[in-house]
């Protein structure tokens, strides 16, 4: 089994863990981390395909996309974190309550 297959299969597992985390985890920070894990899975999938399609060097397009993707995901996560902190500051809530 080639290395890329291991990682591309791992990517699906990470993605599912991320989705599950978003649903099950209750604390804001855990939910935010879950999105990053989900994203990690997706990026792993991209990069494993890049490795598969390597000639003289690995396919650079997925690499570029993943770098872009990481930055975008981190920007979103930082925003989410700021929101979560602000909510905690104003209400003391660390998770979504039923009525919100």
């Amino acid at each position: 089994m080639e290395a890329y297959k291991i990682y591309s299969l791992t990517s699906a597992v990470l993605f599912v863990i991320g989705i599950g985390g978003i649903f099950i985890a209750r604390h804001f920070i855990k939910k935010i981390i879950a999105t990053i894990i989900m994203g990690g899975g997706v990026f792993l999938c991209f990069v494993s395909f890049a490795e598969r399609d390597a000639l003289n060097f690995a396919d650079p397009v997925p690499h570029a996309m993943v770098i872009t993707g990481i930055v975008v995901a981190v920007a979103s996560a930082a925003f989410a974190l700021a929101l979560a902190r602000r909510i905690y500051q104003l209400t003391g809530e660390e998770s979504f309550t039923k009525d919100q």
Binding site: K30, R52, D53, A58, D59, A64, L83, R86
Partner: protein, 328 residues
């Protein structure tokens, strides 16, 4: 052997991800998240994606990790401690009492398991599309840089990269919306601690040099604007934490200029190229190398400033919830 290493790494990543989400203490979650990021970075290296590894380690694990650590100061270390303690205290801190009911959880687990199986099958059976390696290789000489990833990021698909620089700026604006603009509220006080002051003094030039090296090296090897920007951003964060918040001494127009110049110059250059009859971001081959370097440098400065500003603003959010200013 290599399969073994890859397998162990994969299992480690999955284990860390699971542990990270299941940890009872937030601190554990955050540190496991660091570890997860590093495991992922190792995976990138195993897959030959050094640029991605640097980006992952620096931005996802590093920068986001620092933000998460900073957030820990706000939240109580164990989840929902606040809700449990004052009452009967019958819930030990280790137990999550707000779990959703059993049946939905079962359904969710079942659904996710099914989804996982389908996705594994789909990935296993993915036909070989061939990717764009050959195309990138063919056009690499015309791109003005030698490193293919940099060529894709700043020439072939410069449009995405430009939008992405915009996303960082938008993220900063969004944080301004949430927490108010607090960049200027930190007094400029030198760190009281002599050790910290010396370390900052020492690391600032080192980080700067290393960032500059990565930026320039991006032309021919792994590295480039984002990686450099994170290192430079680290300088800003370090200075901020060491009591030297750079933005509170800087005139506003300068900060505004620094924050926007990467994006703005990139676009203005694009428009200029359009005015000379080219498409947006279509560099004349003769000048593409130098243009890319300028764009990268300015973008790196802007991103570094934006990352610093994001951290500083989030960090200062808890200082005084009422003290805000109304304009940038």
């Amino acid at each position: 052997m290599s399969v073994l290493i890859d397998g162990i790494l994969a299992i480690l990543a999955i284990y860390l991800a699971l542990q990270c989400l299941m940890a009872q203490r937030l601190t554990q979650t955050v540190f496991l998240f660091f570890a997860f990021g590093l495991a992922l970075a190792l995976a990138w290296i195993r897959l030959g994606a050094v640029d991605v590894a640097i980006a992952e380690a620096a931005i996802a694990a590093g920068f986001l990790g620092v933000l998460l650590l900073d957030a820990l100061r706000d939240f109580s270390p164990t989840f929902s401690q606040k809700q449990k303690n004052p009452e009967t205290g019958q819930n030990p801190p280790g137990k999550d009492d707000n779990k959703p009911p059993f049946l939905p959880r079962l359904a969710l687990g079942f659904g996710l398991g099914l989804f996982l199986l389908i996705s594994l099958e789909a990935i296993w059976k993915t036909p070989e599309g061939g990717g764009l390696t050959a195309a990138s290789e063919a056009f690499l000489p015309e791109s003005g840089v030698e490193h293919p990833v940099t060529a894709v990021l700043l020439n072939f698909r410069a449009y995405d990269t430009w939008l992405e620089i915009g996303v960082i700026l938008m993220g900063l604006l969004a944080i301004f919306v949430v927490g108010g603009i607090r960049l200027y509220s930190r007094p400029f006080t030198a760190a009281q601690d002599p050790l910290l002051r010396q370390v900052i003094l020492f690391f600032t030039p080192v980080l700067f040099l290393f960032g500059a090296f990565l930026l320039y090296f991006g032309k021919s090897g792994p590295g480039g604007a984002f990686q450099a920007a994170v290192l430079w951003g680290a300088i800003g964060i370090l200075l901020h934490l060491g009591g030297r918040p750079v933005f509170s001494v800087m005139p506003r127009w300068l900060l505004q200029l620094i924050l926007t110049m990467g994006l703005g110059f990139f676009l203005l250059l694009g428009f200029l190229l359009m005015a000379t009859g080219n498409a947006l971001f279509e560099y004349p081959p003769a000048y593409s190398g130098i243009m890319i370097l300028i764009v990268e440098t300015l973008a790196a400065v802007s991103i570094a400033a934006a990352l610093t500003a994001i951290f500083a603003n989030v960090n200062l959010m808890k200082e005084d919830p009422n003290q805000t200013e109304s304009t940038t």
